[in-house]
């Protein structure tokens, strides 16, 4: 397309200037050739202009498309970054909260040195066996996969959505764990 346009532009200039300078205006057929070549030169120039106009329009459309795609990508990246940051923050809070509780318990236990070792071991064992943490971890994993609330409840508690008391209890438990 570009080549055609440049060839037509060159042909227009050649057909315009060459016959006027090379041919004699006083000879009849020379004059006729000049007229014909001028008409052809106009046709070439207009055709080249039309092609250039089309290419210019296509270029503008491509530019708009590229801008839209770039904006979409930036938006998607920023959204995913925001979501992952929120998720990490939530996970960090969940990880930190049992430690804080443990530290608080340990500090309380320090007042009774005799029970310190036994009490600490008991609490650590209780934390490791805490089913809430396991459930929460499972919920976060499912949320990361893009599961909704009903599907997570079905996966974790095995209760399908409905007005049953089991489902309501599971939903309340889910809300408590997620912190809604």
């Amino acid at each position: 397309m570009h080549l055609k346009m440049f060839v037509l532009s060159g042909a227009a200039l050649t057909l315009w200037l060459t016959p006027l300078s090379a041919l004699d205006k006083r000879i009849g057929w020379h004059k006729a050739m000049q007229g014909v070549s001028l008409c052809a030169a106009i046709a070439c120039a207009v055709k080249a202009g039309n092609i250039a106009y089309k290419l210019s329009q296509q270029g503008e459309i491509e530019t708009i498309k590229e801008r839209a795609i770039t904006a979409d990508v930036i938006d998607e990246i920023s959204t995913s970054a925001y979501v992952s940051q929120q998720q990490r923050q939530h996970e960090a809070e969940l990880i930190l909260s049992p430690v804080e509780c443990l530290e608080r318990s340990l500090s309380l236990d320090c007042e009774e040195p005799g029970h310190l070792e036994r009490s600490t071991e008991d609490k650590l064992a209780a934390r490791s066996e805490n089913p809430d943490l396991e459930q929460l971890e499972r919920i976060l994993q499912l949320q990361a996969r893009g599961y909704g609330k009903a599907k997570i409840i079905l996966e974790v508690w095995g209760v399908s959505k409905g007005g049953s008391p089991k489902y309501k209890a599971a939903e309340a438990e889910y809300k408590r764990l997620v912190g809604e």
């Binding site: 300078s21 120039a45 290419l55």
Partner: protein
């Protein structure tokens, strides 16, 4: 690419002016007709140049665009006739 299509239309205008000159050289009557046409265009061009604000509002284009069209039209006419006369 925009410059390219503007340049091509400009060249087309120049060639059309040369063609007018060639037509004028064919016969004395044709010369008179082309002279009359050029005089009419000159009057219209001058009016447009003087009344640029009114004309631009009428045509719903900016004054600078109208002036650019008028100047480029004049340049096309002069270059086209110049090339025809000088060759």
């Amino acid at each position: 690419m925009k410059a390219m299509y503007l340049a091509n239309y400009f060249v087309a205008g120049c060639i059309a002016s040369s063609l007018l000159g060639w037509t004028a050289s064919l016969h004395p009557m044709a010369f008179k007709a082309i002279t009359f046409l050029v005089a009419t265009v000159a009057v219209v061009w001058t009016l447009c140049w003087l009344l640029d604000f009114s004309i631009s509002q009428l045509l719903k284009v900016s004054v600078s665009d109208l002036q650019a069209v008028l100047v480029s039209g004049l340049a096309m006419l002069l270059i086209g006739f110049g090339v025809f006369v000088c060759t």
